[in-house]
Amino acid sequence: MSEMTGMSDFTRMTATEIASLVAGGETSAVEVTQAHLDRIAAVDDRVHAFLHVDTEGALAAARAVDERRAAGEVLGPLAGVPVAVKDVLATRGVPTTVGSKILEGWRPPYDATIVQRLREAGTVMLGKTNMDEFAMGSSTEYSAYGPTHNPWDLSRIPGGSGGGSAAALAAYEAPLAIGSDTGGSIRQPGAVTGTVGAKPTYGGTSRYGLVAFSSSLDTPGPCARNVLDAALLHQVIGGHDPMDSTSIPQPVPDVVAAARLGATGDLTGVRLGIVSEFVGEGAEPGVMAAFRESVDALTKMGADVVEVSCPTFAYALPAYYLIAPSECSSNLARFDGVRFGLRVGDDGNRSLEEVMSLTREAGFGPEVKRRIMIGTYALSSGYYDAYYGQAQKVRTLITRDFNAAFERVDALISPTTPSVAFPMGARTADPYQMYLADLYTIPTNLYGGPGISVPCGLSEGLPVGLQVMAPTMADDRMYRVAAALESAVGTFTPPAL
């Protein structure tokens, strides 16, 4: 298939460029949207980034933007820009499955707060992207609707759980996407697809309408092909939401200004700490090489880089795999076939309990069941203190390590993930190997601070990501560092599909 690569190819533009063309009347939101819908039609049978493409809804939203412009309204900074939304967010009237059979056919009667903010900002929702079922996974292979393929190499995974959103960006099906990050589900897919993925401070983006996996960890956030676009999207979706009790009642740090500042390539006076524990033998040599080169680049821009040890980070993975399953075992109890979604075995002869059991048996995939069982066990009377209680203590210790580190440095850096995109099927038989993909991203979730993955190089032709971690509500710092690195190493374009 031939690819349009000229100036008129809206699918190759940044969100900033598209918004500027729409605002200036040089193109219409409808034209831009149609170009992306065409691109989806052309490549998504191979990528499978989308679970649902909302063609009519997208074109209607685009027309509304064009009408507002024609009426002389001043449009927001992302008006007319298409966005792909991870299928974890409730979208009014638009199917929302969370990658699970148990919600097949469910059309929510309400919009998630983030979706509502995207609509108010005049962005155009193209559709819903693929994900590991209930966001549990690191490869999108656990989607009940089939895996997503990495546009860099279709035989490899695009990361997970938000592989659909990341792949949609890398395949030029959308310039912006929304993800959710519980243990790395925005950052790890960003790293392995050569895109930017940011996990905001927990509470900095609303969870209202985000189908819960692990309430104390889930954080929705922006995905883009460059740092400034991610910051613009972050600004639009972020901020306090009275519908989410855990939402922080403070304004979003000025991430857009920080990204612009970082893009000047000056990091003079910025103190960066390399997490000692994450640059050892666990990471692939190619990943480490790209990381080391990036550290040199950061140093050249004036950053003061030191190594910082965070010894408790070694316990982050086991603590995470108690806390997240515990919360999920409770959060997923509501999927019982009574009020919405799948119902199995309701033949008039079976008891309610049997129908609930059959529904959950048929509706949940093996990884979801595994985590529900682990979590149910960990919360059981007599085991609570040893598992859930202990994991919460570890969480406190990890937070202390972060706080101590941030007394010495402004931000921490590490590779985003120990390896580049692995071949599909390589880790599905071994859950522990799959879990290791999130080794470097999980501590941030347990702490609650922000983290961003920015492309920093290639290893054997596949993208490598660098992670910047900042203190809670200092999201602007990580954007500055990420944008500076981007200005030094550039962006990475996958081979043509």
């Binding site: 929510p108 998630a112 309430s215 519908m243 009790s245 855990t246 919360e327 019982d336």
Partner: protein
Amino acid sequence: MTTTLPAYDEVVARFEPVIGLETHVELGTNTKMFCGCPTDFGGEPNTRVCPVCLGLPGSLPVANKAAIEAIIRIGLALNCSIAEWCRFARKNYFYPDMPKNFQISQYDEPICVDGYLDVEVGGETVRIEIERVHLEEDTGKTLHVGGATGRIHGATESLVDYNRAGIPLVEIVTKPITGTGALAPEVAKAYVAELRDVIRTLGVSDVRMEEGSLRCDVNTSLNLPGAEWGTRTETKNVNSLRSVERAVRSEMLRQASVLDVGGRITQETRHFHEDTGDTTPGRSKETATDYRYFPEPDLVPIAPDPAWVAELKAALPELPRVHRRRLQEQWGLSDLDMQSVLNAGAVELIEATVAAGTTPAAARKWWLGELSRRANESGVELAEIGATPAQVAELQGLVDAGKLNDKMARTVLEGVVDGEGSPTEIMTSRGLEVVSDTGALTAAVDEAIAANPAIADKIRSGKVAAVGALVGAVMKTTRGQADAKTLRELILQRLGVQG
């Protein structure tokens, strides 16, 4: 199974009861505990719902500040300590009327702890210690249709109404109540009554047991004197004050009958039946669900500002016990008289009647006399009798003005209870009014004297007792609308006889 139950006196002579009460109170906040849906009773099924109280995927709870204020006031009125920091917890179990298959409740960090409530039983004060008071959300209601009984057995379909789901619910748990002996059933009843009055005084719930806004579970066990406490049972479905008393008594008798033949009490939930007054077993607690409580991660901890709590405490209204003591003094009642007012549930009614301008004595006379009798006959609470304090005050006003005599007033009151209208309206519509026009009365007297010359002569000759016959005759012609005493004097006067 038919067992001959031992006599109550024998049971309390041999065993010591330990009781405990768990009371649920639906708060009268305008909106639900974690969303903005209205809380009014009734309504078409599933019309007072939203994504939050239906537990739709992605929805999140936000705690209702009015409910937190209400529970803190309840805790303060029950002399509890108010936690400076506490959390909600999830209680996990599957049930179709519970939208999320977990209930947001409180577990090891309740908002109010260690209080007490003093109640009066048989002239004695019994201090009931309160273990905890916590906040949670109510469940929906399951309706089983197609069967004959409305129960799940035999039903063809089960329907769920989520209107009630998410209504704020306060749970008040007592510590075990010991040492009450034969009075245990009365103590249980007096506690629930006092608790109800306290909560009503605070204005945070309408505490109507019949509508389920106050629900009670009663724990009962028996032990031999000096021995360890026995195994307890938890009796549910206790929906009136009278049932609280009956449930404890019935469970004491049943447990004694089991223990007497060397049997063992099963720790279980039992259901009370209003019709028979006994309990039957529900699910066994020995196979109880593990609720897997853990702190609710969707809500932030509650940390009430101590200054705010102090403000709430200072602003508490006069509580029923203090209030009653003040009234007793104002009304000049002995302890015994006050007790009968309390037993009749007439305190507030008398108070309101007095406030409407009646003397305490007259108000008490109506409420404890005629109206209590009618209430007993119809088996309803005095407050539900159909006469209001304002109407009783109006009635007494008519008596005081000489428009009604005592007998007529009782007739009018019957009309009020039967819903015929206000006392004045009934007096007019039934043609009841004391004939006070002496001219008309004199004419009627003269007529009666003329019609009964023999009786008149008897009276004139000194047999004054015979006047009753003439009084009766005049009453007949005036259809009872004369004051008997005035009439007697008038007859004697017309006959020239000294009374």
